[in-house]
Subunit: 253 residues, 8 copies
């Protein structure tokens, strides 16, 4: 429970609008709401800066839709990641206004779109095949209230494509680099900017790419010193961390 909610509660007690009994119950209740198979963490945003988000893989469309509906009832904005069209079919019966982002495989429902920050997150990708991951990151970052700039297909095989866009990249408060194959782009960008770089290794590639392991190791061993890494294809996680960083620049974001 957020401090301001507690203060409101106490105020309503002192005004006599709420009984002591009720206040005690609400205060002692941990911030969660159970559906049996799932327990919604209702104060996650207050605690971690990021609200509970539904990871759809491994859940039935019905389960995703029910969790989304319950969150919506409680006024929590809804983001469901890794959701195929079949999930969206079921979910939009419960939340008609929900929007499906096909490339990102993400479902979003926000009653009021947040005003975006002025400072922005740069999303840089090496090739066209990395776009689904870039989009998951972009949709997540916007959902959390951040302005984003997409800079696609600037991999190191034709490095002048990157130099052509470098000023836009340098102007960001934090940079996400999405790259498969050998993942060299993260190091090259990391060596050219003075902002934190978050690498997302992609499973793009084949053979000794091992489903993204090659890019993952590249980014972990980056010779550029300001680079950190998230899990393979984890656009969502990278966007969350970028959001927490961008908030430091523009706290109202």
């Amino acid at each position: 429970m957020e401090k301001k909610d507690i203060l409101n509660l106490l105020e309503s007690l002192q005004k006599g609008e709420t009984s002591q009994q009720e206040v005690a119950e609400q205060l002692s209740r941990p911030g969660l709401d159970s559906l049996g198979y799932a327990v919604i963490d209702t104060d996650r945003e207050g605690r971690t800066g990021i609200p509970e988000v539904i990871y759809s893989a491994g859940k039935t469309p019905q389960q995703v839709a029910e969790i989304a509906a319950r969150m919506n009832e409680r006024g929590i904005p809804v983001l469901a990641t890794r959701a195929g069209p079949e999930v969206y079919e079921v979910l939009r019966e419960k939340i008609p206004g929900a929007v499906y982002h096909e490339q990102a495989k993400a479902i979003v429902y926000q009653e009021d779109k947040p005003e975006l920050t002025k400072s922005y997150i740069a999303l840089v990708s090496a090739g066209t095949s990395d776009m689904p991951v870039l989009e998951e990151a972009a949709i997540t970052a916007e959902f959390l209230g951040n302005r984003v700039e997409r800079i696609s297909d600037v991999g190191v095989a034709g490095i002048h494509r990157l130099f052509d866009r470098i000023d836009l990249i340098r102007g960001a408060s934090v940079i996400i680099v999405v790259a498969g194959m050998e993942g060299a782009l993260a190091s090259v960008v990391g060596g050219m900017v003075d902002k934190p770089v978050i690498g997302i290794p992609c499973s793009t590639g084949y053979g000794a790419n091992f489903g993204g392991v090659s890019a993952l190791l590249s980014m972990l061993n980056s010779c550029a010193s300001g680079v950190s890494v998230v899990n393979i294809d984890n656009g969502f996680g990278a966007a969350c961390q970028a959001h927490l960083i961008n908030r430091l620049v523009e706290p109202s974001g």
Copy 2:
């Protein structure tokens, strides 16, 4: 070369203090200084926010010392990481004021200590055995001008030790979590704060720990959404990224 240096140069040209010839030469010279086996990247700080740092492993003590001396001559502050005492022995003959941090295996020489930021980086470790890595991160972060707070030995086997210190952790602008074995601490901290968390997996442990791989995978797969990761035992890299983040809060730092 930084913009302000260029402006100074042009000014001195217009004042007649420098000839056109000299200016042209200085401007066309890339920002580097060669020792044959090593090429110092003299404008790295301007470009990336972090000056060139000497990674001592795989270099002879003599090489480390020579590079350090050259950097010192050019007014670049010196940090040599992964440096054993035998490196320090040779280096301090060339730079008598250099200080050796034994646990961190780091050599530092700064003519003028930077004033530390008010905002701070929290350094949280799971166990006593993780201290060398925590210290490498701490020394690096301080070298770059950041205030740090160390919170040691608060691993999840006795999770109340963590809760006891949680306010200090929450107050930081960015948090570094150092953990070996199963590396669960990064997820637990990540689930309790609203600041970016950078995990450093440690090689502490044995058997199926595989030299830190267990903790690395744990952190990459963290169920907490604001966690990113650097290479195993890479205190230096984590501190660099934390510095770039902390700079966003307090740009003069």
Copy 3:
């Protein structure tokens, strides 16, 4: 062959109901029954505390059904794990009373349901996606006569969800923790209870999760000292060991 069966046999000999010849033959026959492609281990329960169970993967539905029918004829209760609906279709023609547990992918047939123990096995899972594995463990444990308590979706990203249920967990005689991703839940639970904890790493997750390897390594490297581990997604195996432990508390179970 169980001791009591032997005693019965000897009694019938002394009563003249069975010839010496027959008794000798029965006693010298190892406890097995062959179908050619499969050899049923008829005294496994007597020997190991757990009856022969049919692992359906890699067997044809016809084979599973035949083995089940033969076991049923000999009075051995039937549990078939990793069984898809197509296996159930064939099997229930031979054993009409068999019950299919869809989420657990398990088929059960017990003429007389065992009376459940009073002491119980706690089944704790990190997320909704881990439910199929939790259910395999739960169905197996109940099949073997144990009371179970399910505590779902209490992963460490919102650790207060776990604290909310900790008393129920502490009251168990043995605890099974099911977790994918980074598997940190096993360590956290292990640090809070004084009962044996058995971890089941789940294949839930993606990328550097490597099909459950991340959670497996986490649990093997647990910094909490009372944790052991079974194979990835092995709900059955964890339940068997938990049953053997719970039997120590309540031997009649």
Copy 4:
């Protein structure tokens, strides 16, 4: 803090022996004691059934000795694992009565030896080369108050050696199996007993043994259903879990 300690404290308050102030302070203090680089978890035994134990690897002998001394001052029995003779040299200056178990690489100091349980833990090893791990498990189990029975060098290459000792193994309340190479012993024992079996894969072997990975995988994939596994060479962890199981049989142990 244990319940009985709290009751004592309250009693002394009511008797007027302690002031309210002091009681409040003691009660609000979390169960920990800090040395700066290490935080002793003073109520771990109450919480988890196993007291804080010192893992010596990665700590200096001086650090191990200081932690041990502090624990001793607070009346906590001392067990330091993975301790070389050089650690013992330093430690026994602070705790003269401490005993060194060379093969187990363990240091023990208990003012009052606990009375051992009647029920026992069977420790079964495949070969002579597995003895250091078996001894770490044995010393730990005895330290925690359990009777143990050692059954060495009964690997499956000469399986009749195992059958010769099977009754002693079957009589245990829980069985630890220590095996390197292909680790088959755990499955074979698991198929012959009705008690929980905890496997310790050993790094004994060479080549495709990969430092114990071969035995680890064997045990995780055991076709016997009551087998769980701990980390490679982790005699300590296996003993802890066996202790928690044996306590269920004989709670006063």
Copy 5:
């Protein structure tokens, strides 16, 4: 070309039945027959004791059928392994007498069935799920002229099933052990017989089985000294080596 064929050729030259020209051509022709995309090694049997066999995976049904037809034309008996029913459909149009072994996924055509040896190869498998691999080995061994004995489902979880059949196993000239999961059966058999044991690790299993790697490592690290190993699921290769060994006992086989 075999020595005896050469001698025949030379004899026919001296008898004037063949011209010098023809003899020269036949002698200089390497033992191969090309289809463009495939080169049939026509004297492989003479050279290696095993005729050319068609590995169907990665070839189109049409290619398999053409190679088989060409071999048949040259009087080479046909064995096609890893062949699905769709391959058989195409092949039997060209060789109507070809027989399909469904479980083994093998197609066989031999104009004259070889007389089987008296000495035999024992084929021992751990579980019913290992049968396809056992059958590939059995069909191959019979194709090469060896008597085989199948001993199925005698895994170590119920080790008395193995003891029940041990005399039949001991009587073989060479033993093939097929086992998935932890593969312990190879070591146990290897410790009980004085004949060479060839292990076939199976991909049977799940999770940390890693598609047969667990059983592979087990068998490579066998503590029994007369065990060697072939590739995962490689029934064909094991049968070839067993055949070469059995030939030593009964050369006319």
Copy 6:
């Protein structure tokens, strides 16, 4: 932009055919052409000797077709690799003359076929199953203007098949060896020729082949000294390097 294009541009300026404005714009434009999701590297051939090629995996058929059409408009010859028939269906609507090479999974469109070199690249494969990879290399090499010679199915199990073709292999300027399973062919060829050998490990095989890792490691560890390696199944990459080598012999090629 290539030097000769620049000279042409300057000439047309001096002839008054182009304005200064236009020339400046063309010269300052980096060599790229953006479609939003893809940025075509228009001067890659001038810079690297190999034009931009479309890697179709991970792109939609629509995207591949659009990129191809744009390249075609700019006069760049089109090669799309890893393209299934569904890609070809869409692409040939835009470029009717495009040719589909089914086995190679490659689409080619060149308005003017290049005249092939006299010196040639030898393409040697171990087995029929390796043909798709060999064909990808062959089509690519021909697309780039090289004569190629295919030598199929000469693996080391019947090494005389290789010796039969060795003169054709030795006559090449560079040799590509395609092999799956144990990949021994690269070493054997490498030990018999005095030309550079490029190995392509194939995913052909099963079990401990690990999708081509076995052949990859073999080739990397080749005891023959003139062997280098490209990624698993990477016929395209091997052909590119072979082309760059063959160009050294016959620069006009």
Copy 7:
């Protein structure tokens, strides 16, 4: 206990030389002799064709010497493998006639050298660096009574070296191939002989050799069909299996 020993025992009973009591005791004693930490498997030769052999790694020199002495007392010939000179120093005090084979790191003591077989085992190695493994195999094979022929340094980089010795190889009853790096020699030999080939992958090499894994995978994936494999560097195991095969040819060996 061997059948002939049992018959002798019964004979001496009937002659009155031994009491019934003594006979019963001897017969009921399993074939083992315990030293506490080690249990000697005294009838292993009768059961498996290979006597108990001491694997010295992981044992103290004192332990090796004691086990050897006990075996010697019981008339069992002594072979200790993986024994450094420091083991030999201690052992020869107890068995003065013991011989040390330095390159093989093997200690041998046989009161009566066995007469060697006429049929022989061919030991083929790829390079000089593989000699220690070849020697371990050779010494073991001779210890077990087999004639051996060593063919060294005939790796595939200069394949004519192999052809020069092929007749000697073909004449053997079984062939052991020792190779590091890419291990191609096993496939090449396997394709040229009609005898069983046992591959020993060696740890010789560096980098992507991964301590012998490269050669191991090569041999497991051999395209030649009569090849099986033992553990990396396991000269002892290969010799044991070769011995069991050679015995089939010449049973009195």
Copy 8:
């Protein structure tokens, strides 16, 4: 045996200087010379363009020296790689003129230094720590008669250092790129030149670098199309292939 040697031999026969007997013997002798444990491949240079070279690891200094001496006697120039100073100590007693290259760990003896080619091999390294590998490549290339140009410490963290030297790199006939950590340099160089690039992944780095695996995977997955790879740290192998390529440009080299 080289063609010219054969011609000489035949000439001396016709001149009567050699008997038919002698000529026949010499011609029938394969090109090898045996020392028992080693077989020198005397015509390797004629066959493969690279003479036999001594790989010293795994050989005793005495063995290396004897092989070198024998080669020297036969007029073969001597290169011994991976040779520590202790090898050089022994070798130079036999070949006093031999030169030791400490950083490269290579011993060279050539009676007549070859005249170097005009075309050159560019050797590009990412950092100072990669120098030993670069030097092994350089010494080998020069030994084989190639001019080399060394370009050190131009890694992508400061990519302008590379651009500063790009013309020298582009002028080479073939380029070797040496890089550890993430190995991105190979891709970046590959995207900027039109000559074949051979990558040498280095073991430089730590943690998730896994002894060079990270750089190896990066280079294998390079998005630049003309890059091939040799084993980790294999300066020798890269130089051999570069030599074979450079010979195509300047055959007399």
